[in-house]
Amino acid sequence: MGRKVFGGFSQAVLAVWALLIIAPLIWTLLASFKSNGEIFGDALQLPGELRWDNWARAWERASIGRYLLNTAIVVFFGVAGTMLLSSMAAYVLARFKFPGNRLIYFLFVSGMAFPVFLALVPLFFVVDGLGLLNTHVGLILVYIAYSLPFTVFFLTSFFRGLPDAVAEAAMIDGASYTRTFFQVMLPMAKPAMVSLTIFNVLGQWNQYLLPLVLLPGDKSNWVITQGIADISTIAGYEADWPALFAALSMTVLPVVVAYIVFQRHIQSGLTSGAVK
């Protein structure tokens, strides 16, 4: 088989898959400008005009803005808390000898082996018992707790690999343990912190199950995945499909833009977990 033929075959295979990825997204974007009639007509027809009022309806009536803001708040505090607490725990577990060290490390790591569905029922009642059901604080704390195993595991192995000399020098210069951690050791862990932050932002932003269980009440508290799934159901009986597609576009577009800007970091951040 000649090189030209093989090259052409490769291009064709790859182009087909690329088309399969992009087509549904472009189609959704186009459908967000269609009228209800056009949506239920021929799927391959372009919209007759750019109907921006679909977007306005999705933003206001379907409160996509509200959902996005809620998600941003929850994910911001969720990831900040995850990174802070994980790095503290991982640092101590990696570099200090004390009774119980191995046990605590094992407890954290074993969390990766359990499916979250096993914990679902008791978790609901624990959160309810603390009065945190239907609150963002409750969801944030749960996000942090369930992000700990992987983040602690990953950071512990990173901190173990850092040289001893730097920390010792800082201590000799009179820095306290806390100061040595925040001003010397944590900055050295930056590459791992960046990867894990991306990993956790995406994981928490896309979470669907936990909000469904822990924020079942008032819609004004909901996050974006709940909102989109709900609009999909509502569109069925209110017959406002254009608003659904506008809402979908609004949700997907910022993620796609962020992805294109940071794609190198995101790819390495997400796959770094698998190549440990």
Binding site: F117, F124, I144, Q267, V275
Partner: protein
């Protein structure tokens, strides 16, 4: 003393959060699975293994297990095969240029596009494909079929097709991740191995099966375990995409869906926890088995 204070201070909050929200629920789940708890404190009786007996006699449970088995075989197989093919085309198929193996033209672009679905929320992808799969010509796929003069297909309404339609979406979303993962592995294979094979007259297909695949085996194994564990989940997609959350008529239901329904729709918390325990042991068995079966002598290069 200062040292002990520091260690304790740094561990206090993370361990506290972890014990309250992760460890304690997991432990409680095993206890609740042995009760008939329905959410009111008075109605809690220890019923031993009754929930498990009911579970094994329940047709829906077996339906979910059958669906998991289909998922477990089909989804990783399709995802890993496609990802290996794409990664190979992207990294090696361009032939050797100036002594190194190169991918086809535009491989950077393909890599970005293929990975894209990975960053989208599964729930959002589910809503999106609900529209793509619509049963008349207003759905993208059926729109094309009708244009070609064929009958529209009930992708999600046909009992024999629904699970496969959902598997296709899972594969659609997952392939890009494994393309990137396998690409990294392929890039680490020394180029002179390919050159030597090429001098010996090996074709590209032969090179793939004799060099790339064996040297990539560890990574493929990791990928297989990840996908297998994902095959025991499937909640978000089934919940959003399928008819009546697991329908038509249980054709797409998974254990996670049954756990959620039994707990939060019917308040059968004991039974739901028993299903959770079953799911836990299934996942664990799968991971242990895969490790054993796929273990090979590690090739050092």
């Amino acid at each position: 003393m200062r040292r002990h204070g520091f260690v304790a201070g740094f561990l206090l909050l993370p361990v506290l959060l972890y014990v309250v929200f992760v460890i304690s629920p997991y432990v409680q789940a095993f206890q609740i699975a042995l009760t008939d708890w329905r959410g009111v404190s008075a109605g809690l009786d220890f019923v031993g293994l009754d929930n498990f007996r009911r579970m094994f006699g329940n047709e829906t449970f077996w339906q979910a297990i059958r669906n998991h088995l289909v998922l477990l075989v089909a989804m990783p197989l399709a995802t890993v095969s496609l990802a290996l093919l794409f990664a190979y085309l992207l990294n090696v198929a361009g032939g050797s240029r100036g002594g190194t193996m190169t991918g086809v033209k535009g491989s950077g672009f393909y890599r970005v596009v293929f990975f894209l679905p990975q960053v989208l929320a599964v729930a959002v992808v589910g809503v999106l494909f609900k529209a793509v799969y619509r049963p008349d010509s207003s759905g993208v796929i059926n729109g094309v079929l009708v244009k070609l003069g064929m009958e529209p297909v009930g992708w999600l309404t046909d009992q024999r097709l629904a699970l496969w339609s959902i598997i296709a979406v899972m594969v659609w979303q997952a392939v890009g991740f494994y393309v990137v993962l396998f690409s990294a592995g392929m890039a680490a294979i020394p180029k002179d191995v390919f050159e030597a094979a090429s001098l010996d007259g090996a074709g590209r297909t032969r090179m793939f099966f004799s060099i790339t695949l064996p040297l990539l085996w560890d990574t493929v194994q990791v990928g297989w375990i990840y996908l297998g564990i994902a095959a025991f989940d499937g909640f978000a997609l089934v919940n959003v995409l399928s008819m009546e959350q697991g329908g038509p008529d249980g054709a797409t239901t998974v254990l996670a869906t049954e756990i959620y329904k039994n707990a939060f729709s019917y308040s059968r918390f004991g039974y739901a926890s028993a299903l959770g325990v079953a799911l836990f042991f299934l996942t664990l068995t799968f991971a242990a088995l895969t490790m054993r079966v796929t273990r090979r002598e590690r090739i050092v290069y």
